[in-house]
Amino acid sequence: MTFLTPAFFLGLGAIAIPILIHLIQREKKRVVEFPSLMFVRRIPYQSVRRRRIRHWFLLFLRAAAIALIVFAFARPFLHQSAVAAAAGGAARDVVVLLDQSASMGYGDHFEKAKDAARRVVRGLGADDRATLVLFAKNAEENMRATSDRARLEGAINAAKVTAGATRYGPALKLADSILGRSPLKRREAVLISDFQKTGWTGSEDARFPEGMTLTTMPVGSANARNLAVPSVTFGRSAFSGQERIAVTAGLSNKGDEAVGNVPVSLTVDGHELETLRATVAPHASSSVTFAPFTLSGPNVRGMVRAGTDPLPADNTFHFVLTPSEPVSLLVVDSGAPDASLYISKALAIGTTPQFQVEVTSAGRVAPAAFDKRAVVVLNDAMFPPAAAGGVLKRFVERGGGLLIVAGDHTTFPTGSTADGDLLPGKLGTTIDRTDGRAGSLGFLDYSHQVFELFKAPRSGDFSAAHFFRYRSVEPAPADRVLARYDDGAVAAAERKVGMGRVIVWTSTLDDSLSDIGVKPVFLPLVHQLVRYLAHYEQPTSWLTVGQVLDVAARTKGRTDRIVVTPSGERVAPQNSRGLVELAEQGIYEIRSAGATTGRPESVASNLDPVESDLTPLDPRELVAAVTGHATPETAEPAMAEQMTQEEIEKRQGLWWYLLLTGMALLAVETTIANRLSRREKFL
């Protein structure tokens, strides 16, 4: 219980008045003249009797009446929910949604949020119950519906800011689910957050049914300033057989004020290599590039730190670098001069990855030449004799890639041989389109990984390429057609054999049967084909919190690996697939269970860049979207409490009842006192 005007408690001193009247005032009330005190004097005078309070009940009534009146003037009120429970008579089910995303680490936002949550809990009535849901990107039912305020407060006290991004959708859906199961009539969700605009897209399918209310308690600050390092890029270059990395850090200023001369430092393997100064205009981005450093080995840990501000989490960006490994190719051609010129030149350009190309003729290929190759390209060549007898098939089945560029010289074993089922389909005759208009690509399967890169508009014009002759292929039903010519003939088809992939390209990749070799799409097409066939995945220098770390893939299926989180906690992959969700910012290590030495494989985990954008969302917008109707505005937290107090007090009007009760007590006291007086002729 709280009082609006506690100064009125000084009036409690008035309780002494009835006592004083009892003890002092009454005996001096009047003087009675009497003819003679001759007989009165003979009677022993009992002064104690007068000073003794005989009617304690009357005194209690008087004191209670005064106390009630004083209480009434002090304007008492109960906390909102307790009163609501008392007044409404119905128990409530409250779900407290407490935002613990990384942005709540800004200044004292999270402490404010916890205070707000505690106020909600303390305001619960005896029959009310509450559920604590902590949420960031995902929502978790931290404390199931309970009336135990101590446990709820304990859970709130134990809550911490996480590195997760803000997503209101899952939290609101979980609240809907919890309240939907509730048998209580009054259901209420209280959302305590900094209301980042990025956390609510408006397309979330979170909608409360009629009868559920959503109360918002914003704790964000107006005009928040925040400098963040949302990303880094790496410029790789070779020097003396080693790889040199030039780190470029992006800086983003989300505040209304420019950030000037802020130090930006690069730390690699615990050593600060360089510190630069940067200035970033308000609501703008900038970048700094550090001097290149030599990448000495795998799993080199780096960190960029930029300045300090109330949200320090996003001022740091972690990354892990590993020297890139080239993709090894064996190009088998017919042996004619420059038969593989276009392919080899195209593959010489790449850096991510680098391609290590060996060109040979079909007749000179040794079986050992397929070892340690990622991809074999049969470039308009006959089937290599050394590959016969299942050598090439085993290569593919182990995970190798085979690109068959079908030209006039191409031959392939038929289906009855060991390698006969490698070719996606049946290779047919050559179709000549030199007469009239040359053929062009009429269909591309953009959903395939090879062509996905070209999906976006102006991302590669395959229609400019002309195909004069091409081999016909009849793919089997299980084969996947990746591209077709304008006449419907198959231009590219894929077959998966074992762990490997085989793609047939029915025309040449030079200027002999088509002019695609001189078209802009040639280079990226060749790169995409080789990357896909080599199972190449660009090594990521960092992941984002909330992503899943595929431990099994990184450890080649070994199961005795554990993951050490940035906070030092050891986590074993929780399922057979060896997946660990990244929940912290920093460097995760993947260690062998028993190993204590050696450089562990590392994975950097960074905040979701959108978490740095503290632009607030109008809570009313969210409430309207969730509940379907507008709600009273939500004020600033500090003001909110004050307003709430006054509003609550006004709504309750307890003083009125206290005053009436006090007056009623006085009336009762008067009645009783009169009766006693009449009966005893003494009071």
């Binding site: 009330k29 009675v32 003249e33 009497f34 003819p35 003679s36 007989f39 009992q46 007086s677």
Partner: protein, 303 residues
């Protein structure tokens, strides 16, 4: 017997109503006439010159009392003897001490006592008695000698009587004892706030002369019942002393004490053949008149 201008039953009229009659004489006449009417053939109303008996003449007798007719028949001198002389002195000894001014709800004690005195005076005057009054507190305040013509003076004195000073019985009564040479009826009206022994000692000298003494003890109902409600400071009217009193706690004891006081006075006056009458100012006046007439009858039979 006069019956005109009387108010039948007036003797039972509440003293508070009587107090509205401004004239004491009118009041006294109203009360007394009503009182006498109610008596009918009152045995106390004897003749003043009634014949009693004859006795033989002895030297020194007044020859005017010789019954000459009997001398003619018997040739002896006989003297006629009559009942005693009916004219007597009524002296009212009126206490005007401060305590007599007390009044709880009705009329003050001194006013009630004035009514009694006036009624007695009127009655005496009607009987051709001589009426006088002495007012006193701690000393004699006024003295009106007994006379057949002093009734109006007595009324006037009563009218002017103010209870203003502390009272005392011994000193003034001793003075009066020296003064009353001729026996008569003495009516003492007081509230007797003294010890019974002291009261009796003060009164005794009055009895030595053969006076017939009638004592009226005038008390207010509050003095008898002590029916007070609130705890208050009680102030002695005569001394001015104040005592905080919780009536509920001592009322019972007070009533016992005042009753004992009255009983003691009754016993002691009775021992000395003094008529004692307790007068409650809330009651009518007839008891006082009865007491007076009883005494007068006794006096008439004395020869």
């Amino acid at each position: 017997m006069q019956t005109s201008q009387t108010m039948p039953g007036a003797r039972f009229v509440d003293p508070k109503i009587l107090s509205r009659i401004s004239s004491l004489e009118l009041m006294a006449r109203t009360v007394v006439e009503g009182f006498i009417n109610g008596l009918h053939r009152a045995p106390y109303f004897g003749a003043s010159i009634d014949f009693a008996e004859h006795r033989g003449y002895v030297a020194g007798d007044d020859i005017r009392r010789v019954d000459w007719r009997l001398f003619a028949r018997t040739d002896r001198f006989y003297v006629k003897q009559y009942e005693a002389d009916t004219n007597t002195n009524l002296s009212i000894l009126f206490d005007v001490s401060k305590s007599m001014s007390f009044s709880s709800r009705g009329i003050p004690k001194i006013e009630y006592a004035s009514f009694v005195a006036a009624c007695l005076g009127y009655l005496a005057q009607r009987q051709r008695d001589r009426v006088g009054i002495v007012t006193f507190d701690s000393d004699i305040v006024t003295h009106v000698p007994s006379s057949a013509k002093h009734f109006n003076v007595v009324l006037h004195t009563l009218d002017r009587a103010k209870a203003e000073r502390p009272g005392n019985l011994t000193a003034p009564l001793n003075k009066m004892a020296e003064h009353f040479k001729r026996r008569g009826i003495l009516v003492l009206i007081s509230d007797f706030y003294e010890e019974p022994d002291a009261v009796l000692e003060a009164i005794k000298p009055l009895k030595f002369l053969g006076n017939d003494l009638i004592v009226f003890h005038v008390l207010d109902p509050a003095e008898i019942e002590f029916g007070y409600d609130d705890a208050s400071s009680f102030e002695d009217l005569e001394s001015g002393d104040q005592i905080p009193v919780v009536p509920q706690s001592l009322a019972q004891e007070y009533r016992q004490l005042i009753r004992a006081h009255i009983d003691a006075l009754t016993a002691k006056f009775s021992e000395h053949r003094i008529d004692y009458t307790l007068l409650n100012t809330a009651e009518p006046l007839d008891r006082a008149l009865f007491s007076y007439l009883s005494s007068r009858e006794r006096l008439m039979r004395v020869r």
